[in-house]
Symmetry: C2
């Protein structure tokens, strides 16, 4: 795409690489509902011709979209829009601050304090049962092998809010948190269970304030353990 006199004005305004422009145009296909999540995109060759760019440019755009988790490419098959919001970029960002444990722990706490208030509003019997199940499994666990159920308790709460934006964020944060938790020396199973039960009771009452309070107590305790 050589520059000629006619480009003068527009190129002064946009100041973006072709790859970036292509990236936006592909995203626009989603936003404008021309294509939907899960749909297959035309092959590179067609898109190149359609948008009037070279293959490297098209591939740069596609690779970016893939690293954003917006599309998924399969050799010989094709390129597809992903079904749901990806937490990939989020995880990448978190890996960049993995040394800043305090920031990750705070972010997790912040998000989950908000989440639990919504969870209280939206709580269902099924979710309550699932939560209770994790508590029982924790009680029955031997040694300190209850991390899995601990994590599940929090994920179920996040999931129950049924919000794709929050879901993507908290998933990555909880995952980072697991790694951090692994370094805790003295775990306190009984206290954790007591906290989870308190949260459970507040959610059962569908009381946002109480749920916040219970989660606040719990996460402050976790924070204390994690940050020495």
């Amino acid at each position: 795409m050589k520059k000629d006199a006619l480009d003068l004005i527009s190129s002064q305004v946009v100041r973006k690489t072709l790859a970036q422009q292509v990236e936006e145009q592909i995203i626009d296909l989603l936003i404008s509902n021309k294509l939907k999540p899960g749909d297959k995109l035309p092959p590179e060759m067609e898109l190149m011709e359609l948008l009037g760019v070279s293959r490297p440019v098209m591939r740069e755009a596609m690779t970016s979209l893939e690293s954003l988790g917006i599309v998924k490419r399969k050799t010989r098959d094709g390129t597809y829009f992903t079904e749901s919001i990806s937490n990939k970029p989020f995880s990448t960002m978190l890996s960049l601050v993995s040394d800043n444990i305090e920031a990750i722990v705070e972010a997790r706490t912040s998000l989950e304090l908000g989440l639990v208030t919504y969870a209280a509003e939206k709580m269902t019997d099924e979710t309550l049962e699932a939560l209770n199940d994790t508590i029982i499994k924790m009680e029955n666990s031997v040694d300190n092998e209850y991390g899995e159920h601990d994590l599940m308790f929090h994920r179920i709460i996040a999931l129950s809010v049924n919000n794709p934006v929050l879901q993507g964020m908290i998933d990555s944060l909880l995952l980072s948190h697991v790694k951090i938790n692994a370094q805790i020396k003295y775990r306190e199973k009984e206290k954790t269970i007591r906290h989870h039960k308190a949260i459970y009771e507040a959610l059962k009452k569908k009381d946002p304030q109480a749920a916040f309070q219970a989660m606040y107590n719990h996460l402050k305790f976790v924070e204390g353990k994690v940050l020495e």
Copy 2:
């Protein structure tokens, strides 16, 4: 990089494109502290040779990193790691769910409820003054042109927590929210000011619970306005 017999095992394991591998290796430069935010990367040519890949592959990786907001490229100058965590990928993700107003509003509320509790713990006199300033400006505003100060109030709270992870998330969310707010018909300046004052007082007392409660009241009110 042609495949030969020696690659057999490793290539079975990794299953990633070269561009993705290069992307990770560049990121590793940051994680391992070999390079720091703001640092200049070697030119493409050098990196190609260093990592043994072709230019298109290197450029795909770089374009991805740029769309993640991790690097910034300048023609003739070079490529630099960005200084701080970018909210670019969040903004992109949010644009994909821009039709799901409820999800965005909920995410904003969730995050800010958590933020404000930390803000209460960390509150300083300077921040309090800055917050009060926005309230005064709102009171002095004519008509309904107080959106700017309203936004600033919330941004100052977010900023005061001084957490790069949370900062990136809330920035994008508040920006999305501004667009949503613009569609509110009847604005209620007096009530908004009253709410902000209540939040301010709670923060002044450094009382996380009270701050949460005040913010909860405020955001539930905002939610009500936004979601019809």
